[in-house]
Structure formats: C-alpha cells, structure tokens
C-alpha cells in the first residue's frame, strides 16, 4: 500500500488519454501536484511505437488481422484502423467485455495516450449554431455555455497541438489559430467551385487537422517537427508530426515535476464524504495484481472517455448518492448520443484526367453542415457535415495468369479515373431512451460491474440519411461525377467513435449533472470534461471541443483551489 503521504495529491485525473492529458498538463503548469491514473500500460513517445518505421512488406500478414483474432473480437475488428500496424493500441473485445442490449461497437484504447494515438486528427470548432441547437430545436437541455465562452480555449488548445487549416470565414465553422494548409487536390478545387456556383449556403473546405505544417517555438519545446505526410499516424509518429497526448501533454506535464503518472491502475469508483459534501479520492485496483488502494485529492477530473466515465460515476455509490455520484437528477448514464456515420456516396470522375496528386497529406475535404442552420427547414432535426475524399490510382489489371499476369501487374495502363466519395457525419439527438447502465450481477476481471448499452439510431437519423443521399447525389451529378452510388453501411452506433453524453452539462441541477464549468452540481470538486459532459453532439469531430472544455475547466479548478473554494 505504501506510506500514506504517497497517497495524497492536490488533484487526481482519471484517464491519461486526450482529455485527461489536457487536464494534467494545465494543472501541472500551474503548480498543482497531480496524480494521473491510467488503467492501461505506459506508452512513451517514440520508444513504444514498435511498428512506426515498418515498411509495408515487413508486416507478416501485410496489414491483415489474423482470422482467430477477428473471430474472437468482432467489435474492434469492425474499426477501420484495427489493422496489423496498430492493433496493439486497441482494446480487444475479450479484454474488457460489456453487454449490448442493443448493438453498440465500443472502440477503446487503454494506455497512456488513450485513443489519441490512433485518432484521425480532424479538429473543427463548434459554432453558436451548435451550442444554441438544443434550446432552439427543443431537445436535450440548453447548453450552459456559448461559443464565446469556449473560443479563447479553442485557441489555447490549437496553439499547443498545432492545427493546419484555412481561414474560411464561415459562421457555421469558426476559424482558429491555424498553421498553413496542405494543398487541395484538383478535384477538391473543382468540386469546391461547383458547390460555390450552385449553392449559396454550401462550402467545401480543407478539413482542419492536428498536424504541424510550420515550426513554432512551442513545438520545438515539445520536441516535435513537421508532418511528412506519411499517413501512418495510427502507429505513432517518429516526427511527432500529429498531436497525440504521448508526444505533447504527458511529457510536458512531467517536465514540470508536478505529475505522478501511474499506469496499470483501474479506477473503480470515486470516494465521497458525507460530512464535507465533497469527493475525497478514488478507489483503484492494480490492473496486474488486482490489489485495491485508495488515493486522495482536493479535486478530481474524470476523463476515462465517455462511457467509462459513465461507468465509474454509476459505480460510485454512497449513502448520499445511491444511484451514482452526483446523480440527484437521475440523468446519469442517459441522453447518450453519437455521430451517424452510416452513409456514403461514391462515384468516379473522368475529368482532370491529365492530373494526379503527388506525395501524402493527412486530411481531406470537408463540407460543413448546411441543413437547418438558420432555421428549421427539413423534415428532420439538425444536419450533417461531410468528409469529401478524392484519389487517383494507377490502372493495373489483375487478369490472366503466367507471363501475361506478370506483364499486367508490371505495366500499368496509365491512371484510372478519380475515385470520389462523401461520408456523412450526422448529428444525433440525445434521448432519455439512449442510455447505459450497470449490470446488476456480472463484473469484469477487476470486479467492476459490466456496462450495458442501450443506444440506437432513430427515425430522425433515417430521414437525414435519405437527405444526404439525395443532396450528395445531386451535388456529385452537378460536378460531373459518374457512376454515383449510395451506401448505407447499417453500422451500429459506436463505430463512429464519437459517443458522447450521459453526464451532461446544463443550467438546472434537476435535469443535468454538470454546471457551466464542468463541475458536478452536487459535488463541486469533481469535474467531468471528456465526451460524457456533452449536452448535444453537433456534427463536428468532437475531440477539439473536449480538449478546450478540459483546459477551461482545469483553469477554473485552479482558481477555485487557490481561492479555497473547493
């Protein structure tokens, strides 16, 4: 157990992923002695990226996942990034089971760095159309903050992580502090023109991504350098060209001397003291020895990623909170939402035949939301953003056998047409019927109850998919794209890896868990700043917003601590 003083800190952060990394960094920067607890192993930048410099031919299965592994782990095997080069960063289904009352693909990364190692690095800001959405359209509850509250924190985060982008001047997608963009492909530029000429309210932009494209002092201090366009980010980057917690936040916090990082530590619950009306610490289980210990602190940040944060809070029961920490309202675990990633439109483009792209780039095109922005106008609520992808490949025939086949393979017949596709990122509506809860009987190998998932699509999602199909088929036709087809993958919620909610922010303690500073209404020294805090989900990739909310909340906590208010 160690001696008792080892177990006292000023702050505890649960989860050393993207958002927990931010909490730790801000707290440590301000001299707060912080214990960062992580259930997985340590992953040190550079040192623990075993595949980062492997060539394609060096993978025994050329990227494929062995049959026995995918059979035993159907959920994680559905994730596009679960391949031979990055499989070691994903949680296998068998390692931490859960119960699907409705199909839900729970994609996780348990290690220092969390999912920030494998993420796709898309970082678009929210606007007030997003923060005002629930109040205007009458769902969920009103956000207790507006864009203006978060804007300086977006900038704070962008400056530190490095974001490549254009200043597009769009009210739906506010500009940020950007590093230079990579070039657009000729087809993106073409499609951009077509959209601009045909639709006053639609735009194709360069999707902003968390990559360094210009050197700045802060990146030099972090020991990172420019993105080389390898597109192998999920392995961890030898240049630190993209942002993950391992290359930036964690070593940064460590250099302050204020961080204690403790891997292999599963937080089982948060301890609550009736007398003081505050949380006092956490009960943890050593992931390897299964030994139980407690740690104590004045403030606690819960950043275990959306659903594990729900799990920990639901499992933190006491006389005062029999239904989970801070759960006076009964909303804990409820109003979970996600992004609808089911729909794609594909085609080919035979124009710009004499052109191709050269080299590599870590991002794509992006069409911000254009539906129901200024007023409700469709037969569904909210809208969708869209990723736009274009590529061109050498035309190589695999026909024949013997010398003929060899000849085909080694003599491409020029280039094929451009391949184009659009992927929908739809906002879903948080509902009381989309929830998670604890199983009453079954526990995992650390004795923690299994989580049960009750999350599904609804009619609003179906109608939005139809509109996306119609609109992008039309836009593709106007752009001269051919062989346009629509696809509904039918995938379950979760595979978007953007699950949010369950511990939502709000103005009213009767209907929400957290206040405008991400503090629990009923237990103000506990802050929840990962995706669990999200009142609604908008259409943008959410992690930039998690990071900005975390940095903002951490600075609030620091002030509160200094004032002795918590």
């Amino acid at each position: 157990m160690g001696n008792n003083t080892d177990h006292h800190f000023e702050a505890i952060v649960i989860g050393a992923g993207m958002s927990g990394g931010w909490a730790a960094k801000e707290l440590c920067d301000h001299g707060i002695k912080t214990l960062l607890l992580e259930r997985g192993r340590n992953v040190e930048h550079l040192k623990d990226y075993p595949t980062t410099n492997m060539q394609p031919w060096e993978f025994p299965h050329r990227g494929n996942i062995p049959y026995a592994v995918s059979e035993a782990n159907p959920v994680v095997s559905r994730c596009y990034a679960f391949r031979e080069d990055a499989a070691h960063f994903f949680v296998k289904d068998t390692e931490h089971p859960y119960i699907q009352d409705q199909p839900f693909d729970w994609i996780r990364g348990y290690q220092v760095g969390g999912k920030s190692i494998m993420w796709a690095r898309q970082v678009q800001r929210w606007s007030n159309f997003d923060f005002e959405g629930p109040a205007r359209d009458g769902f969920a509850v009103d956000w207790p903050i507006r864009y203006e509250d978060l804007a300086p924190w977006y900038t704070h985060v962008e400056k530190f992580i490095g974001v490549s982008g254009n200043k597009d001047g769009l009210d739906v997608l506010p500009d940020g502090d950007f590093l230079p963009p990579f070039e657009m492909s000729c087809v993106e530029t073409h499609f951009q023109d077509v959209i601009r000429n045909n639709y006053a309210d639609r735009h194709l932009i360069y999707a902003r991504c968390a990559h360094i494209t210009e050197m700045r002092d802060v990146f030099r201090k972090q020991g990172r350098t420019l993105c080389q366009g390898r597109n192998l980010c999920q392995r961890g980057c030898p240049y630190g060209g993209y942002f993950n917690a391992n290359s930036t936040l964690i070593p940064w916090a460590q250099r302050t001397g204020n961080l204690s990082l403790q891997p292999h530590t599963v937080v089982q619950s948060i301890l609550y003291d009736d007398q003081s009306g505050k949380a006092t610490g956490v009960r943890v289980i050593n992931a390897l020895t299964k030994e139980t210990t407690e740690y104590y602190a004045k403030i606690i940040f819960v950043n275990a990623a959306t659903l594990n944060t729900n799990l920990i809070l639901l499992n933190s029961t006491s006389g005062r909170f029999p239904n989970g920490l801070g759960n006076d309202s009964g909303v804990l675990g409820k109003y979970v939402a996600f992004h609808n990633y089911r729909a794609h439109v594909q085609g080919i483009y035979e124009g710009h035949q004499q052109f191709r792209t050269d080299g590599g780039r870590p991002t794509s095109g992006y069409v911000p939301r254009f539906r129901n922005v200024y007023r409700q106008e469709m037969d569904f609520l909210r809208g969708y953003a869209t990723g736009f992808y274009s590529s061109k490949h050498k035309a190589i025939s695999h026909r024949g056998m013997g010398p003929e086949l060899l000849d085909h393979l080694t003599h491409p017949t020029g280039y094929g047409p451009w391949q184009v596709s659009a992927g929908m990122m739809g906002e879903t509506i948080p509902k009381v019927t989309n929830f998670v809860r604890l199983d009453e009987a079954r526990t995992d190998e650390w004795g923690v109850p299994l989580l049960r998932m009750n999350i599904s699509h609804d009619d609003n999602d179906e109608r939005m998919i139809q509109d996306f199909f119609e609109q992008f088929s039309e836009m593709f036709a106007k752009a001269g794209f051919n062989q346009v087809t629509t696809h509904d993958s039918g995938q379950a919620p979760g595979l978007d890896i953007h699950e949010m909610g369950g511990v939502r922010m709000g103005r009213d303690p009767q209907t929400s868990m957290l206040n405008q500073w991400n503090q629990m209404h009923a237990c103000p020294n506990v802050y929840v700043t990962d995706g669990a805090c999200m009142t609604s989900v908008s259409t943008q990739n959410p992690s930039l917003t998690f990071m900005a909310l975390t940095a903002r909340a951490a600075n609030h906590a620091i002030d509160q601590l200094k004032e002795g208010a918590i």
Partner: protein
C-alpha cells in the same frame, strides 16, 4: 492440484495425438498445424510460380513467397476455407496423377497453363485453392519493395503533397 496437472498432461497428450498424424512435414514445421504434406506444400509453391512467374526480378521480401502463402493460409483463413483449400489441392494432385504428369514443375509452360485452366474450371474447392494461391502470390509481389518503388509511386516518407500535377 495433482488432478489438474494430470488433466493438463492428458490434454497435452491428446493434442499431441491429434497433431501427430498430420505432422507429415518435417521440412516446414511452422505449418504443421495445416496438416499438409511436404509435396503438397511444394506443389503450392509451384502453382504460385506458374501463376505469377516473377523470374529474375529482384523481389526482396523478408519471407519467401511460399512462406507468405502458407502464413496467410495458416493465420488469415477460416478453418472451413483451410480445409476447402486442402481439398482443392488434393483434387489437383489427383488430376495431375490422372494425366500422368509426374510433377507439375517439370511440365512445360503450356501444360502448366492447361493444368491451371483446369483448376479454374474445377469444383468450388479447386477454384478456392487456385484463387487464394493466386491472390496471395499477387499480394506478396505487389507489396514488395521492388514493386512499390518501381511500379507504383510509393514513398515511405513523402515529405510533400502536390494536389495537381500533370501526369
């Protein structure tokens, strides 16, 4: 404890027994679990070479083509498809025998192509044997350093992106 140990050694013995009859290849111990004989494994190699004769091209990969094919068959193929692959391979062996071909590798190229055409037209298992072998031979070749750098525009560290270059 004793009982458990006893059960364990029984289990090991049992496993050994089931493996032993199929343990016919001394030369390829890592593919023993597939239950293929040495001459069958070598026939796979010959078929792959006939389907995609890379000849003198400097295709340097960490493993031989046969090793790659056997690895994919062992690790990335369902047990059902493994046994169908084996059936297809066996049927091909009988065909070769029926045609009085002593060994596939000694056939001239025309006869090899004829034999492969037979496989392609054969039953579902023979087709699977042919298609899988062909696919893995192609994959091994097209992911080699030689192919990626000489035929495709592969750069491991591009360091640039141009959105619109003339072909």
């Amino acid at each position: 404890m004793k009982r458990r140990q006893a059960l364990q050694s029984l289990a090991i013995l049992g496993a050994g027994l089931t493996i032993l009859p199929s343990c016919r290849t001394k030369k390829y111990p890592e593919y023993r679990a597939l239950g293929l004989k040495e001459d069958q494994i070598e026939l796979v190699d010959q078929v792959a070479t006939a389907v995609l004769p890379v000849g003198q091209l400097p295709v340097e990969t960490p493993e031989s083509r046969l090793d790659f094919i056997m690895t994919m068959l062992r690790d990335c193929t369902s047990p059902e498809d493994q046994s169908r692959y084996k059936n297809g391979l066996e049927a091909f062996q009988s065909y070769l025998k029926d045609q009085f071909h002593p060994s596939f590798s000694t056939l001239n190229q025309r006869d090899q192509m004829k034999a492969l055409a037979y496989l392609q037209e054969g039953d579902k298992d023979q087709q699977l044997f042919y298609e899988h072998t062909r696919r893995w031979a192609i994959q091994h070749f097209t992911t080699s350093s030689y192919y990626l750098t000489n035929v495709l525009d592969f750069h491991f560290v591009p360091g640039h992106f141009y959105g619109c270059v003339v072909i």
